[in-house]
Amino acid sequence: MSDTRQIQQLTPEEVYGFLGSRREGLTPGEVEERVREVGRNTVEVRDRWKWPRTLGRQFSNFFTILLFLSAAICFVADRIQPGESMNVLGWALAGVALLNALFSFIQEYRAERAMQALQQFLPQRVQVVRSGSTRQILAEDLVPGDLLVIGEGDRLPADARLVECEDLVANNAPLTGEAKPVNLTGAAVESRLIDARNIVFAGCAVLKGQGLGVVFATGIRTEFGKLAHLSQVIRRNPSSLERETAHMVRILTVIAVAMGLAFFAYGVASGRSLWVNLVFMMGIIVANVPEGLLPTFTLSLAMGSLRMARKNVLVKGLNAVEAMGAVHVICTDKTGTLTCNQLRITNISPPLGEGTPPVAAFQRKLLELALVASPVRRTEQGFSGDPLDVAVAHACQEQKIHIPDVRDVVVKGFAFDVGKRRSGGVFTRQGRRIFVVKGAWEALRPLLSKLENGDNKEPAAADPQMLDAAEAHMRQLAATGLRVIAVAWRELDEGLVLADVVQENLEQGLTLSGFLGIEDPVRLEVPAAVRTCHDAGIEVLMITGDHPDTALAVARKSAIVAEGNHAARILTGDELERLTQRELMARLDEGVRIFARTTPEQKMKIVAALQAMGKLVAMTGDGVNDAPALKAADVGIAMGLSGTDVARASAQIILLDDNFASIVAGVAEGRTVFANIKKFTNYVLVSNGPEILPYLIYILLPVPLALTVIQILSIDLGTDIIPSMALGQEPPDPEEMRHPPRRREQGLLTPSLICHSYLFLGLLEALWSMSLFFMVLAQGGWHYGQELGVADPLYRSATGIALATILLMQIGNLIGRRFARRSGLDGWVLRNRLLLAGIVIQIVFSWALLYTRPLQKVLGTGPVSWQIYVLAWLGIPLIFGLDYLRKRLLRYRAVRERKRGGSLPRGSGGGAG
């Protein structure tokens, strides 16, 4: 013999026995013992080292370490060459690193608001019976076995099994996402724990009635506690940009330090002094590290987030800007996101829907019946209540039905029951009492015994054939995208006492009056937005609690599935529940795109399966119980209008207008941001070539150093910043949403980008600037092997022209970086003000460092003849022209490959190509 009963299946007496409790409640000794065993009733996962650890993590990532290292280099350089304001640069870099770390820390700290929002669902104090008397205690002191006193308006502090119940109605929205009230009972029930009507759950609210419940789960062991636990402990995967940035910084740092150390060792071995070698090593490291790149990243993302905000996409964490552009799948809600969330009754039809169009009298009668089971209140703003009930009231108004005439004669109402998926009411008409039920067809079908036919004839018996015919009609309506509600009724016996009656006893022998077809129109802009997603290789999955036929119809209207698509694209919540993760992955692979009749908690399962398939997932949500899925997804998107505080706090992105089209706009912006980041990374790395080469030549040959550390920093942290930001501002490329999302393993720093930056453009800049450097030296009488002091006017002029040449050539590089395949010379050059500003800065700075006293003093430069300066200007067409030639060659090769049957390789948005 085996007893596998659970708490909801026990009688109230058994509940006391099994939980070691009694009507008089627990004694203080028992409470103490239970607190010791299971802990306090709190959903907060306490970790006193959490914040120090989080702060420490911000300072221990490669990004921050590199910036601090650069700052340290500046301070060392200041000690070596005082008076060149290197310490100012050092402080600036340290400030950027500090700000960056603090900014990330504050972002993580703000995410803790989810916990604060969740706490609001739990009461501070509760009433319990202990040692025979009712007392008020802190909710945190509640233990399993405590007898909880429940009253109207209470928030529930723990999961409890009801043992006494008087008209208790609860709202379980925080757990189920379903805002409709649930009638509760104290009797044993046969159902799953989560669906049991004799259980009250932590975080939920009591709408009316009173009762007593024995607490059986507290803290994170409650259903609400599990939500809260997940909201706190789930770690979001680092975004691809975070990973790629870290990867890039790591590689560049390793290269810089390795080169620095190698040449330091070479210098020592070749007999140079230690101090000189140290300076030299610093120079190599500074030349290799693009100090300005990382702050520019942050600026670019911040500007991207501002642009997104203008498109109604509010970004909470900067990394989410780029993460949006990388998603492979968008899992979206239906109501309010794809549709307008404006319910309207557009079809009123008899059970079989055949014959002549239903007459007005029939429609009025059906609407009146539906209104009986639709508790709505009239407020100054209009009707208030469930959107569906409000839609019924509006339809009644259109039919000139006087609402109070119906609602005022309702003698008993049965609130919508989530488990039963129906609501009901009893009203009196001409001395007769009529019970009405309104709900899902599947819920009403087993209760029917007769069917009306839309005229005044006697209803027909509801045999299986008739019921099948009615179901076929219902499905036909649902297939057009309507949400279909069935309305049924029965006349009650005169002697029946309503006060004692339970709903189940009334729900038998019902006559189906007809169906109401409710439409929630798809937003106008949605189909185009979904098609854009498809063009961009992004799958759109719809997750809804609606009937599969309705879901399929909306999916068709939204272009999520094609018109001719069959039902294999749909998966219901019940099927989903039965599938293992691998089976779900297989179904997704086969093309399932619609999840119907699902619960919010099933979203987690969908996210997990998609992520296991290697996809980056964006998930929308609005309810409290969406919070874990929003955190688990790579990009959590909360609804700004209809979302709860918990959902908004758990998401990275808030959709201000709840509109799917805004998500797509956000994706496009995210892709643009990544493409632009790649452009300016390419741009910045080019100047590393001419910065490194002088040091290599200097250590290997007896020649003067062409570029000093301060001059390198003036490029990296000075003149390159504005042009980089300008590239970060480049407008979206229309092609950006016509290719699939980049692969997860596709990094920012690709071998082709490195080759293009260092070995092609970088080398060009290095060769031209070094040529002019040696030309000035040669014209000034320098001979090979001759040493020149840093104050020597010849040396200052030579190093000045080397620096000026690099700055000018960066202009050609800047324009060329705008597109991977096109020249970069178009009208937008003039409209991108930052780009113009960048060009002007490079020109003015290249001139000023040669011919103005203050800059000559700071940078250790001197003037050159105008003929030499003109030669430096020639570097612009040289680098631009040769790079354009390379683009043409690549384009020619791509066209040739396409002609051969291959596809055009994807442009890298301005990268190396």
Binding site: S2, E30, T580
Partner: protein
């Protein structure tokens, strides 16, 4: 036979409900051993034992209660009275130690788990409302070559009521390496975990008989398996975690802390820690 080491505490009462059901599920008798160390009022103990016998009778389980006089210590008294061998399974509870620091370290349950003379299942019950009938189980697998063999004697105790069984293989990598791992490496690690769980899954399918529970598994690449197990327990809404106990050298425990203690402290559901022979 199921041997319940019963201490008369509240947790002991909750654990006893599991023990009775285990005996009922496999159709065996229940032996209740209580060491009289004077910490419990005899009248209270009598009432509790009466209830235990009553509940056993309700489920058709034959139970025998022995109140043992304290010898050298509670542990040695139990050891002297529990027969060695794999025929009997010892069920005991993990009790919170002073100042709420430990649930296992230094307890009788830990000593019994370390004994190695008989199979032991130590239970921490945090959801007494389940009444010893957890229907959804999470079984983290450490990748041991024995696979499911070690867990089977304990899993079969729960078998009749299990609806869903989740296997979890946490593939541990260093926290420095985790954020920077390439996609190819991740895939390779995940596949290795999948292969292991595939073999375990086949073994379970072979052993499950007519039981219709749903079997699912997850592979997770993580740097902290305890954290991952607790997250998955909440995520999958399981009612019980079933963990195998292994001996770790002192150095490892000093360096990494006691992982089982962390699970017991932060668990969102009941936990069973088993050690088979």
């Amino acid at each position: 036979m199921i041997i319940l080491a019963y201490d008369g505490s509240l947790n002991g009462d909750w654990v006893s409900r599991y023990a009775i059901r285990f005996a009922a599920h496999i159709g065996t008798s229940l032996s209740v051993l209580h060491v009289s160390d004077g910490s419990l009022d005899p009248d209270q103990l009598y009432i509790k034992l009466q209830r235990l016998e009553r509940e056993s009778r309700t489920l058709g389980v034959e139970s025998f209660t022995e109140i043992l006089p304290l010898e050298k210590s509670v542990y040695f008294t139990l050891l002297a009275h529990i027969p060695s061998g794999r025929e009997h399974i010892v069920v005991c509870g993990t009790r919170v130690r002073t100042r709420k620091q430990h649930f296992l370290s230094g307890t009788i349950a830990e000593k019994l788990l370390r004994t190695g003379y008989f199979p032991v299942l130590a239970l921490r019950v945090v959801q007494p409302g389940l009444l010893g009938t957890p229907r959804d189980l999470l079984l983290p697998m450490a990748g041991h070559p024995r696979g499911f063999e070690a867990a089977w004697p304990f899993f079969r105790l729960l078998l009749p009521e299990v609806d869903r069984l989740f296997l979890l293989r946490c593939m541990k990598v260093s926290s420095l390496r985790l954020p920077h791992m390439s996609e190819a490496r991740r895939t390779a690690i995940r596949l290795a975990g999948e292969r292991y769980l595939g073999v375990v899954g086949e073994e379970i399918t072979r052993r499950r008989g007519n039981s219709l529970f749903r079997l699912d598994w997850r592979v997770s690449i993580c740097d902290d398996w305890v954290h991952e197990v607790l997250v998955q327990a909440s995520r999958l809404k399981v009612r019980m975690l079933l963990l195998g106990a292994t001996e770790r050298p002192l150095g490892h425990r000093l360096l990494h802390g006691n992982a089982l203690e962390r699970v017991l402290r932060g668990t969102p559901c009941d936990v069973g820690i088993y050690r088979s022979l």
